[in-house]
């Protein structure tokens, strides 16, 4: 069954159609990657899925339910969680507080006004666990604004994991992360995919990573859906080769 | 401490009389506050012949700045009543501050001489028996204004700022003017903070009155625009109260207008005023007393006279009894505290603004004195 589906999803910014009649489905527990040139509309598509933007046409369905008109908050509660391409954290809160807030939301603790937040032990523990998972333990009490770029990316991932949604939308999670640590993060993602049976949609430009993880790959070009197929098939696609990959990966993937 | 409970009786054996004066010594009304302050000091000097003593008691004065904020006024008044244990309060420069302090006078059972706040409600709806006012009130102004121009068959339009001061003033003026047979054909109210009054003036022009009576206070004023809109050419004469000297200098365009004045140092013809002008000049570098200086002086004189009469008895009930109906000489002639509402009836002046050689502002020239009886306002408490 398709957990996530779009029908003729379209958004125009002024005269420019950033996402153009895109219809696709993501089956439950699938790992789907999205590739495409810069400005193809990948991030915008995510924004439409998670509700940051409202489409000028078309619909988004979550488990068969039309969620097109719902706010990002509602969609997050219904199970669509996302990370952001441009680091998007709470700058003047600590790493712990950043993650804790996400755990808190997951647990549905929203309007409790009379108890101290630290009295929710399980939440604290969970937050600490996640910080460990993304290798940020040393920076637990740092303000997010003071982290190095790669560290912020990790925090971003921890916050997404904390939300523990059924669907994870990952927008270039490892951009700027160091070589050494990419594999570790990939491990985390892979484990989540396997053990916790999540549906994952990933935007990446790192082809080796995509080939390694994906069940299927979707290609966006100029806002339009060019192909949605098995990774092997996609790599054979000529347009993908010439207009997206160029020469760089030839020798490497060969 | 005995005075906090309000039993003022015990204080009659004190060696000193303490007076607390509340005034705006900073902020927008600073110049008014300073006039009151100077006037009050000179008034004490005059009334005690420089001894600063009355009925064998030394007079001490404490000035406090209300900053034209009611909460500060209350704080300062309480300080005066509690810590300085004053026997009289005097003040204040704004009606709001004064109104906020009125209940304290009653609570602490101390006489408060209101000067120069004008709101009618002070001696009207908010009146309590401890309140005496040497200042004239809005209604007196209005009656004086009416007396200067209202006659049978005269059509008058009014222009006033759109807040209590203006609205009350116009209401009182209308009553007085209609009593004299005039007709108020249009009431125009303007945003006091506006920069442009031409739309208001336009409406006045359309009402085709014989007179435009303007009630105005505050720095921002419509005079320029009234002149620019050529009302006088259209046969509409302007009338208003002459303000303090600083504001007079903005009234150049209105030279020739007939109206009234509360005080200008050349208007009253009596010895006290002569003394005031002379001493003031001596003390303050040639400056002449201004609009509210004689008010401050009158307040001081009224207090000294009252104590003289009670022979040093500072018991508030005795004082009230003494002061009700008491007459005393001031730079503006004889004033009398009316028994019913403790408002001092006083002389006001019908004047014409004229240009005078060597004076950089138009000068109010006396047409005639408006006697205290003539300008007596209705009793409203």
């Amino acid at each position: 069954m398709a957990i996530l589906e779009t029908k003729d999803l379209t958004i125009k910014f002024g005269g420019h159609t950033a996402v153009d009649n895109v219809s696709f489905t993501v089956p439950e527990k699938e790992f789907k990657s999205i590739i495409g040139p810069n400005g193809a509309g990948k991030t915008t598509l995510f924004n439409l899925l998670s509700g940051q933007l409202k489409p000028t046409g078309g619909d988004v369905y979550l488990k068969g339910r039309n969620v097109t008109k719902l706010s990002p908050a509602k969609r997050a509660r219904l199970g669509i969680g996302r990370s952001f391409q441009i680091t998007n954290v709470f700058p003047n809160l600590t790493v712990l507080e950043n993650v804790r807030l996400a755990v808190q939301s997951k647990r549905g603790i929203r309007y409790i006004m009379h108890r101290n937040k630290s009295s929710f032990r399980e939440i604290m523990d969970e937050a600490h666990r996640l910080i460990g998972l993304v290798m940020l333990t040393k920076k637990t009490d740092f303000l997010a604004v003071n982290l190095a770029h790669g560290e912020k990316r990790k925090l971003e991932i921890a916050m997404l994991l904390a939300l523990d949604t059924e669907i994870l939308l990952l927008d270039e999670p490892t951009a700027g992360m160091s070589l050494e640590e990419v594999p570790a993060i990939l491990d985390v993602i892979r484990k989540i995919k396997e053990q916790e049976s999540k549906t994952i949609v990933l935007i990446e430009h790192k082809m080796d990573m995509i080939m390694d993880l994906s069940d299927s790959i979707m290609v966006l070009f100029n806002g339009r859906l060019l192909a949605d197929d098995h990774p092997k098939e996609i790599m054979k696609n000529e347009q993908v080769q010439s207009a997206y990959l160029g020469g760089l990966y030839d020798e490497h993937t060969a | 401490s005995e005075s906090s409970s309000g039993s003022g009786g015990g204080s009659s054996d004190k060696e000193t009389v303490k007076v607390g004066v509340l005034a705006s010594l900073t902020g927008a009304l600073e110049s008014y506050g300073k006039q009151t302050q100077r006037g009050f000091e000179l008034g004490l000097e005059y009334a005690t012949d420089g001894t600063m003593e009355v009925a064998g008691k030394k007079i001490e004065v404490v000035f406090e700045d209300t900053e034209t904020k009611p909460e500060v006024a209350v704080q300062k008044a309480t300080k005066l009543l509690e810590e300085d244990e004053v026997d009289f309060l005097v003040g204040s420069s704004s009606s709001g501050d004064t109104l906020a302090v009125l209940p304290l006078a009653e609570e602490y059972e101390k006489i408060m001489v209101v000067e120069p706040a004008v709101a009618d409600s002070i001696t009207g709806s908010e009146f309590n028996p401890y309140i005496f006012r040497t200042a004239r009130n809005s209604s007196q102004d209005a009656v004086a204004g009416a007396a200067a121009i209202a006659k049978d068959g005269v059509k008058i339009a009014t222009l006033a700022p759109d807040y209590s001061f203006g609205r009350d003033g116009v209401a009182a003026f209308k009553g007085a003017a209609e009593k004299l047979g005039a007709e108020v054909v249009h009431e125009e109210y303007a945003d006091p903070a506006a920069t442009d009054f031409t739309s208001n003036i336009q409406k006045v022009i359309e009402a085709k009155p014989d007179y435009l009576f303007v009630i105005w206070a505050g720095a921002n004023s419509p005079w320029n625009q009234i002149a620019d809109m050529k009302l006088q050419d259209k046969g509409i004469k302007i009338s208003t109260g002459a303000p303090d000297i600083a504001a007079l200098s903005a009234m150049e365009p209105l030279v020739g207008m007939e109206g009234f004045s509360v005080y200008y140092h050349e208007l009253p013809d009596n010895e006290i005023n002569d003394w005031l002008v002379e001493e003031h000049k001596k003390k303050y570098d040639g400056e002449v007393p201004d609009l509210f200086t004689p008010g401050g002086m009158s307040a001081a004189i009224s207090i000294v006279e009252a104590i003289k009469k009670t022979e040093g008895d500072l018991d508030p009930d005795t004082l009230i009894e003494t002061m009700e109906g008491m007459s005393f000489e001031t730079p503006k002639g004889k004033m009398t505290f009316r028994e019913e509402d403790h408002q001092a009836l006083q002389t006001l002046y019908a004047i014409r603004l004229e240009k005078k050689e060597g004076v950089p502002y138009p000068v109010p020239v006396l047409i005639r004195e408006l006697s205290p009886e003539e300008t007596a306002p209705p009793i409203m408490n």
Binding site: L101, I109 | P70
Partner: protein, 332 residues
Amino acid sequence: MKILQSRSNMFMGIALLILVLFPLFNDSRSMMILLTQIFIFGIFAMSYDLLLGYTGIVSFGHAMFFGIGAYSTGIFLDRMEPTMMWFFISLLAGFAVAGIVSYIVGLLTLRLKSHFYAMLTLAFAGLFLVLAEKWRTLTFGNDGFTFRTPDFMKDRMTFYFACLAVMAAVYFILKRFTQSPAGSVLQAIRENEQRAESLGFHVLHYKIIASVIAGVLASLAGSLYAISLRFVNTSVFTMDITLDALLMTIIGGVGTLIGAIIGAGLIEFAHHWLTELAGTYPIFERWIIFFGILYILAVMFFPAGIVGSLRKIGSKKKTVKKHRPEEKKIAG
């Protein structure tokens, strides 16, 4: 963290105790009135801090709620009877009006970005000022009116204790609130609204909650203010009142609550002393200049407000100590 927390709790306990005992040892009523004034403005500034410090909302119209409280108490006690019952009814009336207004203003305006929200609140407060001016049958316009207070609160000492108790209660309630899960979402919104939304928090709900709580507490402060003066006029709706709250909050340190109280205390005391000096020494005649200098110095030396800056110094010492064993190179 814990130690710091418990130490500051101890300081606060001592301060509270001193304030409770104060009237028993001091018979200066004007000092008592000054302190009462500080308590009232402390409540008002704390309510503002909830907006500015915790939710990141700048409002230029907070006086609106203060005025609503002041007028409802004034009008009820004047028109009805000066009894405690009517006082409580007037409080509730103030809460209701302030709550509704802050809800509507919140709904209309919290979608706006900072300046625009600030200016819109300025506009609304301006409209209330005009209303108070124009509805003369009820408000007596700009001059305002005096009224009698309930006998219970007539005594300044009783009123002092009442205000102290209310301030302490408001402080603890707000402290609880800001440290609760819901309160921490407010801070998240302050930091990054869009991200908070995408975590599943309904930003508008929280902003409205903050706005309504702040509005109601400001109205409470306004009611007490009216009682303390036994008089109310349009000045309660002016920009000056909003600026007072703003200055007190900022000087004390935004986002600290206690800072709001300290700010209120500092400003009121500085004011008191400066005007006193003005009475004694002629060079202080222009004491307002010194007041201005005080603000400037506050920014220079306490950029995060008094409480905020002290805390920073405190935590800096703490982290340096903590890091020293691990990272030897950290210079003292």
